[in-house]
Amino acid sequence: MEYRATNRRKVAFVILFAAIAAGAFFLTLSFGVYDISFSDSIGAFFGHLAGGYVDPTDDHYIWDVRTPRAIGAILVGAGLSVAGVVMQNDFKNPLADPYTLGISSGAFLGATLSLVLGISLIPALSGNTATVVNAMVFSLFPTAIIILVARFRRMTPVAMILTGIAVMYLFSSITQIILVSATAESLSDAYQWRVGSLNRVTWDSLPVMLAVDVVMILLLWLLSGKLNVMYAGDRGAQTLGETAQRIRVVTLVMASLMTACMVCYTGTIGFIGLVGPHVARIFVGSNNRYLIPASAAFGAAFVILADTVAKVSGANGLPVGVICSMIGGPLFIWILIRQRKSAWL
């Protein structure tokens, strides 16, 4: 009976987080450089959906610019948070997140190749598409290297995380070599990319983000039972059984793919994979069945609100990546202290 009650509470929290995200979505539509009131922005949004008349300028900024950006924020927040849940679970380490695995440095290298040298992995592509594809492909390398190394040398989860960091260093050193030769213009582009921002998200980028996000989150949610088993397994053991090992590889690849998909459109927005899961965990506990949807919803709300702050901060405003790291950095320390008794570390 009590068990059912707690579960109902967890579901309630998931719904609450989702409601917050939805509220934030409508709120953020009225924020930006273009002056428009809250009611006008809502009017323009639903007006466009309903096919009624909307002032063309309002329509342009609300529907063509802010709506995809807000949807992008939801997808990024949800995707990166779920990726964080999976990685923390797989590595049994509360500090693991998509970026400590070097995924972002891989993406940055791919993007730099395209932004600075104009190299595209798929020759037919150019411009933004090439940047996106490059970033996506390169961001899969670090995970591949970790899995490969782990295959040849039986590694503890901790050693795998450290391998990720090493790969991150390796990739950034290559990126540095490229950036040295960059012109001021492309260097600035590359930097902008690295700080992370949702400016780049347009309607064109949404189909891919949406498809990958929805499919991966659903699949991971379906696997949550297996993830729970792995989390609850013998923590003292250096390595996992064969099946668990396979699940780890599979979920890791899925999480990386999802991260790659987000990061290639937004650049590096750090710490979301920590913030979402950890806040959600406080409310719904560690059961992945609830944790995955809860952190997806909370992560989405968090990124939308952070992006709203970014938009409010003006023409020279803070990029959303900086806001996230301002919040995420201290949170990281707090997690470290809070986990002191835990066997996680």
Binding site: D35, H60, T202
Partner: protein
Amino acid sequence: MIVAAAVVVIVVIAAAAAAITRGGGDGDPGESIASQLQIMGNANDDYTIDDKDMEIVDDIIAGTKSFTDYPLADANNDGKVDASDKQLLQDIIDRKSGTVLRVMCLDTSGNNTVVDVEYPLRNVVTYATNMQLPVLYANGGQYIVGYFTSSYEVAEGSINPAAKDLEGSSREISDASWTLFTQLDAGLDTGVGAFLTDYSAVAQITASRQADLDAAGIPLIIYPSANAADEITTVLTLGFLFGGDCESLAVEYAQASWDVVNAIDSVVGDLSDSEKTTYISCTMWIYICEGDSTYNTTATDAGGNWYGNVNSGFGSTYSGDGSTKMQSVEALSNYQDVDVVINNRSMDWGLTADEMRDLIIDDCWEKDRDGYAVKDYFAGLEENMYFVNNILPGAVKLAYMAHILYGDDFSMEWADGILQQFIDMGTAPLEGQTVDSIPACIDHSDYLDAKA
């Protein structure tokens, strides 16, 4: 730094104002070129050094004129006007080789200074596009022995082919590049004649490099020639220093330039600020030029009223002397009542029709910036947005800007005519070009035509 920049801006504006007010008063066409030959001994402050300057010096020595009215009469820059100035001035008038001229320019902190340059100026080393092009416009490419960067194949094609590429970048002179430069100096019998750079690139002349130049006796000549009006005097002065055909070309260049300035002034001069066309100036596609930046002041010289003067929100957001990247496509959304947007772009020329089309579409209007095409950043302003080629002669830029700002008074044909005039003048970077092969001013209809 800010103080220095302010000093530069004040100097620039004062110089331009002085020039404009002085122009057009006299029947002699030469007279309309105000002072601006930045060389001591140019006592009457005109476009050259000749017998008229000698007369003034004679008068000052005789006591009939006052030195304080003619500060430039002090040819040897020793603080007094005497027989030694007369002797030097005579050498200058005779254009005698080996004469040491006192050239006025800026120092690394933006203050006025005077450096010694041996006439005729040879073996120069250039740094920064905004100085390199004035040198080339004065047909001085033949006297360049080394350059730190050359970004425009056709426009900068007249650099002496034997000149040494010193391997800098548009942003940086590395220690290794500086070593190449010093090695170049060591290898020349007479050494490097002068180091020429634009004020905007002055950060690369560090204290130790300045000390190197001083110790080796290489004059460092700095002009703020990113500004169109200052570019005119830069070309004039450099042409004089190179001597021979360069001098006559530079005089013609400056004359034509000041004619443009005067033509603009005759229309715009009487307008009050509220009557003037407002503009926003951009660079690198989506960077908004701040109030005191040279690109911005150039458009003011062309008769525009900076939008920041009428919209205080814009004015305070974009104050300063640099540029700010637009953080989103909404950046200009609240400023839709601006009259025109002038987008400064550096574009090489010598283009075929196909290349021109690609440039207009892929490198201007639809250039990808952070996931959006450039035109998306100017939504609602497309009809009033113009790309102006930044590496053209300053007066040509002013002419196109005047057309953009006051299309009724200055037709496109008129501006094209100015460009044609500069092409016909025989200045090397424009050699063999036509109005069609040079991307000078690209507007929205050009874009629509190119798309069709």
